[in-house]
Chain length 229, copies 2
């Protein structure tokens, strides 16, 4: 197998090409099942040449994961306009697009297969979580989050991850429902947290000022806050 | 170092003693930092004798994790009496007792350090999650859960895990508050799910029949279901 036209690539160009090819393979099957031989064949180069650019499968996997992590972290960056509920809904759409595109690789990574779970891959995953957390804070216009808000946002992010993993296992619930449900979950978890913390309740009310008054998100959260307090 | 009195133990007795000693060490420091030498010293036997019973640290770690997993799964088994909210609150108390007792080991396991992340350890962790899931179903008296209920319970379990991990990192929120908050989170997530699924809404109403009418759990869930439908 060969890509057909052969030409000499520069080192960085070749590395980037290999990362792209590997990411595509790692995304569609569990990374454990992808061999260096397959990556070489898909890139149209020899196995020794792959090793010339990457010392082993783990380093190529980590490079592919770095690219995927940058991509995923970027999905949480949406325009600072419109309501918080609307922004979160856009973020969820972009997040599930990613999960859809990289399903088996995402599942293998998050479930920690034998080829993964190195400290580098863990750091990359944590980096994405942290980037997502910071983006949500910025959408809420909060700079110094109280401990309960930090806990609530971080635990919602883990809820998003686990929901995506469970969804991938059979896709028995329409994706769009889950995206909307997770935004509602955010509101519900925020409201429960606000019940324990007046500062957080005030902060949530402030974050919801731009929310359309008749939107389901506002409705849910405003009533929950009233209920809880 | 020695335990003082030396006597000949049977093979199984010695294995169980080593597992107990190792579990204690793995619970209080990250398992990566615990050496076979330390385990041998704490058990009052020689390093070669440890290897006689366990071929390496990983196998001893896995045996310790097996015991911890059995313990943890057992925490979700509480008497089938009283309200669902009350049962979940008891379960959360028992769960956080475990997390408190095994903090660093629990954190290392769930965060996937280098010594962990084997397919055996992943299977043990998944086994605990599944046992917890089945227990919650049985408390709800549900035998054939609809897909949304399965998703909701499984994702709540992951919320419990991540909340415990975040709590361990600084313990900035009182444990009792978190236990109660997680029970409320269960209600809030269930109510949001019920908004998407009439069967689930009916099922939740049935599960809440024994709930004390003035309890915070019922109040939250009943109002949320009304709100969502």
């Amino acid at each position: 197998m060969s890509t057909g036209v052969r030409r000499r690539m520069g080192v960085e160009e070749r590395r980037q090409q290999l990362i792209g090819v590997a990411l595509d393979l790692f995304s569609h099957r569990s990374p454990d099942e992808v061999s260096i031989d397959e990556i070489a064949a898909a890139a149209g180069i020899s196995r020794p040449l792959v090793y010339h650019y990457f010392p082993g499968k783990l380093s190529l996997y980590e490079a592919a994961l770095q690219r995927a992590s940058d991509d995923l972290a970027g999905r949480f960056v949406v325009a600072q306009e419109g309501s918080l509920g609307g922004r979160l809904l856009r973020v969820m759409g972009r997040f599930f697009d990613f999960v859809d595109d990289h399903g088996p690789g995402f599942a293998a990574l998050m479930r920690g297969g034998p080829a993964v779970g190195s400290s580098t891959t863990n750091a990359l995953v944590d980096g994405v979580r942290h980037a997502a957390y910071l983006q949500i804070l910025s959408h809420m216009k909060v700079e110094q989050p109280p401990a309960r808000l930090e806990l609530m946002i971080r635990s919602w992010i883990s809820l998003v991850e686990s929901t995506a993993l469970i969804w991938l296992d059979g896709r028995r619930i329409p994706r769009a429902d889950l995206e909307r449900q997770l935004v509602h979950d955010f509101g519900a978890l925020a409201a429960v947290s606000a019940a324990y913390d007046d500062e957080l309740a005030a902060l949530l009310r402030e974050s919801l000022r731009n929310e359309p008054g008749d939107g389901p998100f506002t409705d849910l959260v405003v009533r929950l806050i009233a209920l809880a307090s």
